[in-house]
């Protein structure tokens, strides 16, 4: 769905403060509260925006982020992706066109924790021929306001 100027203004105000009351938005934009409510509902229903509560993983004890290239053999990459997606420490799974077939993002408390997730959770999924790990030592940017949904 394409958004218009009014949608973008409402989104901008909500991004400043997601808890902002519809009444307040209506006053700022000189429109009715009903129109604000209708637009916000429309933006959510057509998958333009989502209200999300985000936690910083480091504040909750997970300091390590690693990206694993997964080379799949003898099994559909989509099926391997579904199985790996069940693992709680795996925060994202993407499918690629070439080889490796998957890249997964893993969150772990520390080095030994990461090793345990790789060995006893990811490696046990059928169809994995090889895993190449890229561990982030120091994250300098993490944009978390855009997603595929």
């Amino acid at each position: 769905m394409m958004t218009d100027d009014l949608d973008e203004k409402i989104i901008g105000l909500l991004q400043e403060d997601p808890q902002r009351a519809n009444k307040n938005i209506a006053e700022i934009l000189s429109i009715t509260e009903t129109l604000v409510a209708t637009r916000i509902r429309g933006l959510i229903e057509t998958n333009v925006i989502r209200f999300v509560a985000q936690r910083d993983i480091a504040a909750f004890g997970e300091d390590v982020i690693a990206h694993a290239d997964i080379y799949v053999e003898g099994r559909a990459a989509w099926d391997v992706a579904q199985d790996i997606g069940q693992i709680a420490s795996v925060s994202s799974v993407v499918i690629l066109t070439g080889s490796p077939q998957l890249i997964v993002e893993i969150h772990a408390a520390d080095g030994p924790g990461l090793a345990r997730i790789i060995e006893s959770e990811i490696s046990t999924v059928a169809g994995i021929e090889r895993i190449e790990l890229c561990v982030s030592l120091d994250i300098i940017k993490y944009r978390s306001d855009v997603a595929e949904f």
């Binding site: 925006i49 989502r50 985000q54 994202s92 499918i95 300098i140 940017k141």
Partner: protein
């Protein structure tokens, strides 16, 4: 690491269920004052531990291509390259890494042509960049955008 007590956890849990709940509702549910909830949330947000936010779908921003870039950079140039690459608007993730590549970045672009242009004109031309390995996702089957890294404001 910041201290997160029982009350913080309860506030976070209620807002994780429904991010449009008002502070007054949260306060009433927990039997505390609205001011307490507001103060707790401000502290959590300022320290980069938790925030309520509105995220956009990539499609609604006309983002049609993405890529993981892994860079091999001469060590003396690494910091400069990292600053330049991470400051690009399309860069969504950037980190120093260990191993064959010493820097990774995730890019979000309108299309593959724009992606190729950025790699060619903005990244490969930087002094010290030996090689860029490009991995292009076609679809995400899982994305926990509620578990992220936040940086203090």
């Amino acid at each position: 690491m910041i201290q997160i007590d029982e009350l913080d956890q309860q506030i976070i849990a209620l807002l994780s269920e429904d991010g449009r709940r008002s502070n007054r509702q949260v306060a009433a549910m927990l039997g505390v004052s609205e001011g307490t909830v507001r103060k707790r949330l401000r502290r959590l947000r300022d320290e980069g531990a938790f925030r309520l936010t509105v995220i956009r779908s990539a499609r609604s921003l006309s983002i049609g291509a993405s890529a993981y870039l892994r860079l091999s950079v001469a060590p003396a140039y690494l910091r400069d390259v990292a600053d330049r690459v991470s400051s690009l608007e399309a860069c969504g993730y950037a980190a120093f890494t260990a191993g064959r590549y010493n820097f990774v970045a995730f890019f979000l672009m309108p299309d593959r042509l724009k992606l190729a242009e950025v790699i060619d004109r903005e990244i490969l031309v930087l002094p010290g960049v030996h090689h860029v390995d490009v991995r292009e996702p076609v679809v995400a089957t899982k994305h926990r955008y509620d578990l992220v890294r936040l940086f203090p404001e």
